[in-house]
Symmetry: C2
DNA sequence: TCAAAGCAAGTGTGATCACAAATCATAATC
DNA sequence: GATTATGATTTGTGATCACACTTGCTTTGA
């Protein structure tokens, strides 16, 4: 009866081998499109074609159409009556609508997270803050992509701590929807004054490390409101100019 | 120059003809599955196969797999590592998580709606309430399906008035996720005591017609919490029994 | 000269097929 | 007799094809 011995051996092997995983092509396409959307690589109102994307991603149309369908249901893309799909255009109403929803849900998430984040999690987000400073130190080239990625890591590291399997996908959906807008704002920030985003994040970290849920929520609201109000005034100015 | 005359004739025709619309098979499959999910026609933990559903819906696999993919992204279904898909099982944590999210988001939606609902909208939900009473009057047969449908119409008529294109899809997603659970609760209600759901709805209508956002939110919370807390205690009892 | 008809290229949708992985039942082995 | 192999069936995934609709351009007619 070597059963126990065999079992033990298997466990030893299992401990050394990493699970290989089995990501489908569709999953990769979906992730890639998500990344592009959140990063703002597509412009608002830009139309996307299945075959065009399939060529760009070097696959067939099959995985692309399923990924597009999924993105449409989470409102990251929009299905036109012509059956073509585009990234949703920016309007003032939509901007306000998105911001309100993000304040509501991300605010709740960070309030929950404030009570649950241990020193381990705090350290992680402080590391991200450190990378941010590092990037800022050598400011010869403006790496907007990296800026977007770090911002995303910072926020989602916090949201992950809220412990809600329901809220997190909703927040992802909201980021997907606001991604194309935000990129525009970040570019504009980089050109105009460039208030330091890190200072907002630092206030969030301070609030979280003292488990002050209310302060954390308020700091977060200030952080995410900034690009929206900025974009809002820019849009209004553009609308006023069109009027004349 | 008959141009104006022709134009006029075309308009006359357009006024009489209804737009035919062009719903795809995939859309119909998706709607049908949504209906089934919200109505609780599938049991939690039930696994669904593409070919099985395609046979049941009398189409090919193509529209079904795309509809399933969409439902998976909105967490209405769950993709297992085996690549099979099932309706998510009920757990205590998930129940609490869903209720918290629903209170947060639907509460916000009804508060927004309170300020925006006119006499027209109030009349509509009162009509739905009337149909409910009518159904209750002839209580010889318990029509759970109709009960579910009326409840859905009542709530979404309100949510539609909140004017947020972002919040409403989120609420739909939440209903999709809690549908399979709620059905269990409604069945249990029908057997056990059967407190009148309509009285909760009436309190909501009263609050809305006086534009009292706070009262509306509280009444709504009471309404949607009921099946959840009921189910919660039932689950805990079952867990306790399993322990022994 | 300009608008409408006609044609051609492009695009989304659904069906079918090929293949790989999973599942289940049966058979073989210790 | 319990466990492991082996085989058949089922299932999801991706590719390809056929068809219908849209779109943009050219051509035709007044």
């Amino acid at each position: 009866m070597q059963k126990a011995a065999i079992e033990k051996n298997n466990e030893a092997i299992a401990a050394q081998l990493a699970p290989v995983g089995r990501e489908t092509v569709q999953d990769r396409v979906y992730s890639e499109l998500r990344r592009a959307l959140i990063g703002g690589l597509f412009e608002p109102s830009q139309v996307l074609t299945i075959r065009g994307l399939a060529d760009a991603l070097v696959t067939s149309t099959m995985p692309v159409r399923e990924a597009l369908g999924r993105l449409i249901t989470e409102k990251a893309l929009e299905a036109l009556p012509n059956r073509s799909v585009r990234v949703p255009p920016i309007t003032l109403e939509r901007l306000d609508d998105l911001l309100r929803a993000r304040i509501l849900i991300e605010g709740e998430a960070i309030a929950l997270a404030a009570a649950r984040m241990g020193p381990r999690q705090i350290a992680t987000i402080e590391t991200i803050l450190g990378e941010w400073d590092e990037m800022r130190a050598l400011k010869h080239k403006k790496d907007v992509d990296r800026e977007v990625t770090l911002n995303q890591s910072f926020h989602f590291e916090i949201y992950r701590s809220c412990g809600s399997a329901v809220l997190i996908p909703m927040i992802e959906s909201l980021w997907l929807q606001s991604g194309p807008c935000i990129r525009v704002a970040i570019y504009a920030f980089s050109e105009a004054g460039e208030v330091d985003t890190a200072q907002y994040h630092r206030r969030i970290v301070t609030a979280l490390s003292t488990q002050d849920a209310q302060a954390a929520r308020e700091s977060l609201v200030a952080d995410i409101s900034r690009p929206f109000t900025f974009l809002r005034s820019k849009l209004q100015a553009a609308a006023a100019k069109d009027q004349t």
